[in-house]
Symmetry: C2
Subunit: 349 residues, 2 copies
DNA sequence: CTGACACCGGAGAGCGCTCTCCACCTCGTG
DNA sequence: CACGAGGTGGAGAGCGCTCTCCGGTGTCAG
């Protein structure tokens, strides 16, 4: 019946549904939100009315009164000018790291009806944008992945009293929740395995020194090796990209031709290192054993990479969980979750 | 002065700013939105008041009346149950393809203050979620990347009258804007290059036949080769993943040992093919020339891959541009943009 | 000097929703 | 039989903003 349809143009509103169902706006709202009891027959009538009108609640109107949006910002923060050329967004999204984090976040948020809003913060301006975005009430909180330790964004968020959870421990301690990996323990796993394999001349290719995780992996590895009676471990610094792993490996072999085991601080660099080793005619793992970190690109390597697995998806999901808890309860305590890595043995070591 | 501060708890509102500036709410709104002239001294006063109160407009309230959100949905659509095991989100985000599209979208949207909301649609339920999301007014439109041709989402969007732009031409024609690559022309570029190089026994590894782009690349290549006097081109089907490229290459060489040139329908598979060739002891490009497609993983290959470049970032930006135009003007005509690929010659061919 | 007109600020009506009251209507109990 | 407790629906007040009117003022031509 055409009289049942809303006569105002545009989308049907609560009012329209109420009229069709012959109840008040408040009752429809109650049925939709499942708050308080509503008589079964009235519920039924309301549901029918919703179906016939094709009603969908207006998110803006709802947000206006609930002060909740059902969205969280997923922000990748870092320095935009780090390496000229490519814009920040290209570098970020090309990294499988981001993909796995996004995957974990989405996996957790999706069943809960929350949507992540992608944001990049690579300058003072864009960092302020993130803060504004949250203050505007465009999102309920932020999941922040920083690409380097000294990122000022976390502090801005804390100072503004905005719910936020970080990926990885911030360089200087601030009261903010985060999820991180036990990097040192992971590096030790690699050291143990290399030693158990019988490697006697072991080296490492580390990540950039200004990244806390890279430092931890390096020092954790060195310490563990020291514990095994190898106080000196040659190390070269990479930038977590494949090319630097390749270059690093060449340098290592040149300076220490008798190396028989290498711990590389991430899989991408390990991939490069494997390439270098092949070019140099060294067999893996017979001549040189290689262990990566992350388990992100390990299976596409030749030979498949033995690596320290970082359960990024789970960690990202945990971030999301912490954030939602914080949004739901403003007094929720600052929490840090440290996840244990595992060693995945494949063929390279 | 404490009397200047808003006495209501919570964030300052327009009303607070107005009181501090000694003007009306409407005037503050005008200053903020730059609509209509406002006397310079009053503008000044308002700006000062905004600064002292720390005012940030509430997005929900604004959306409620403007019916605009400043957000668009970036949805990746496909079949969730395609290959058991890994959840859809993992596969999607692990693909460099997604990263580059996201990068292009963000690059265009960011300077315009629009934010993309990440959504996955891999089932009837989640497709409806996307439609609801837009109908709720949570986003102004959708950028849709489908992983296969028969995706029902585009039609749902069109039927609901929602602004949307597709990545790639839909399998069956529906009135919706899209951005696509001239796949056949790209494949022809590869064919021309292979022939010009002197390859005489050429084969191809294609993408999955149910993906229109894969079909186009295959038939475009076959046609171009026919034009060069090679009516028969051996072809094996892959799934756009590295492993299938490797397997495909093995099969090709086994069935046609004298092959001296291969066109692989994407770089990921080409990467696998290169691995296979190396294992089989064939030199690239001396024994077998290899050309990829996309220019996504080309530089990390050994040897660096000659490939047909698909300017994904530009294409994604174009999608965003079309979407915003459509959002701004509902009568905006359905438009399809076809982008021309280019051949990037490196070492593999 | 007056009327016309452009210009600019204020008042106020919503946008669509939630949620607090409040009224009513059962029951159960003394 | 009366009365309070508990459950259930409606009325209405906003949430913070935009935008349409409206009215006051300044300017200039007639």
């Amino acid at each position: 019946m055409s009289t049942d349809l809303p006569h105002t143009s545009g989308a049907p509103t609560l009012e329209d549904v109420a009229r069709v169902a012959g109840v008040s706006r408040a009752t429809v709202s109650r049925v939709i939100n499942g708050i308080r009891n509503v008589a079964p027959d009235i519920q039924e009538a309301v549901h029918r009315a919703i179906a016939t009108t094709g009603y969908v609640p207006n998110r803006a109107a709802r947000s206006l009164v609930t002060r909740r949006t059902g969205a969280v910002a997923l922000v990748v923060s870092g320095a935009g000018d780090a390496q000229g050329g490519e814009p920040f967004e290209s570098r970020v999204f090309a990294d499988p790291f981001f993909g796995r984090v996004a995957s974990g976040v989405v996996g957790y948020l999706r069943p809960r009806g929350i949507h992540p809003v992608l944001m990049l913060a690579d300058s003072a301006q864009t960092r302020d944008d993130v803060v504004s975005f949250l203050r505007q009430g465009s999102a309920d909180g932020a999941l922040v992945v920083s690409t380097h330790g000294e990122d000022p964004l976390p502090k801005l968020l804390v100072d503004a009293g905005l719910p936020a959870v970080l990926w990885a421990r911030p360089a200087r301690p601030i009261p903010i929740s985060y999820v991180d990996l036990a990097h040192r323990a992971g590096a030790a796993l690699a050291a143990d395995h290399l030693v158990a394999r019988g490697c006697r001349r072991v080296a490492t290719i580390s990540g950039p020194f200004d990244v806390p995780a890279a430092q931890d992996r390096l020092s954790g590895f060195q310490e563990a090796m020291a514990g095994h009676g190898h106080p000196y471990v040659p190390a070269v610094e990479g930038d977590f990209m494949p090319a630097s792993g390749e270059a690093g490996m060449h340098r290592l072999i040149k300076e220490h031709p008798d190396i028989d085991g290498v711990f590389v601080a991430n899989d991408l660099m390990a991939q490069g290192a494997l390439l270098a080793l092949r070019d140099l005619g060294r067999r893996v793992p017979e001549d040189v054993a290689v262990i990566g970190f992350d388990d992100s690109a390990a299976v596409t390597c030749r030979p498949p990479l033995t690596t320290v697995r970082q359960p990024m998806e789970d960690m990202a999901a945990e971030m999301a969980r912490l954030l939602l808890a914080q949004v739901a309860d403003p007094d929720f305590q600052v929490t840090s979750v440290i996840v244990q890595p595992t060693l995945v043995v494949r063929e390279s070591a």
